[in-house]
Subunit: 126 residues, 3 copies
């Protein structure tokens, strides 16, 4: 049920893309208890003039090669679980495929259980 | 006022893209009473390594050629109307352009009436 | 903290893209008090058959060359501030890079302070 949407600069390898999606999936498995196999995700590539990172805003030294991650999830996770998720994503992406933690931006969108259909035209969580 | 964002694999025809947007529009007209002519939509294409479907998660046999549909709408539709919308989208897309219902994933994002400007710098629904 | 996602037709210049992101940033600075340097944004290009504007829906004469702007922000801005934001975006984009106000569509997604990590795996606003 999470839907993960990733934005990054064009030119990374297929392996880089697959690893990125897998690591975020594993971070969610570890911290916010998503079901096994729940891997809905997309990656969109952008040219350099189509992505703005925020320099050193808020005291973080960002580069011009960011990763923006938008995750739509069911509402109800605690603040602590969300904090654990952010930490796990940053740690995993630093290890592989090797992304600076400063350049990992995560945004959560919370929705209700009735706001999904995961196939077959049915609202599975109602 | 709905804003429909569709993600799919690259390589489909222009006609396929246009049909997809039209069918989702018609499904919304039939089930959640959107105004005539309210057709805001985008399609983004992804390479195969940039899209993850969820295999047979939750008992549905998904392929590697999914369609992810994110629809931003004003809050307030009933659970029943949302269920009717999911069913209508899946049925219409199966008929034309011919998409397996198992591969149609829909996610709704609900917003307030004040959260839109549909042109001219004005919040039309306030 | 706002994350701005812009959709437009392919073929515009790099300068056009950069100006578009800068003008929206400046409009947010003027009207909804975002911090200096808070510039997270992406642009996604679409082919003509991958974007649907809404013709003259709701009495506005739209063209086939729209700009759709989705801004994710912390919840809590007043209706008046949102109205000022829409007006500022439309006015600035008309001045430079020269976009018809009728073709500027803005959608806000409100989230909680805990729903962001702006780098380093930390929820900066908690």
């Amino acid at each position: 049920m999470p839907m993960t949407r990733i934005s990054l600069l064009e030119g990374k390898s297929s392996e880089y893309h697959r690893t990125l999606m897998e690591q975020i999936y594993l971070a969610m498995r570890e911290t916010i208890e998503i079901p096994e196999g729940d891997r809905f995700a997309t990656i969109t590539e952008h040219k350099s003039e189509q992505m703005n990172n925020s320099g050193n805003y808020d005291g973080i030294e960002r580069s011009d090669d960011p990763v923006f991650i938008q995750i739509t999830i069911n509402a109800g996770r605690s603040v602590e679980k969300k904090q654990a998720l952010y930490a796990a994503i940053a740690k995993r992406l630093e290890a592989d495929p090797g992304i600076r933690p400063e350049d990992v931006v995560v945004s959560l969108l919370e929705v209700a259980a009735e706001d999904w259909s995961l196939g077959n035209g049915v609202a599975q969580y109602v």
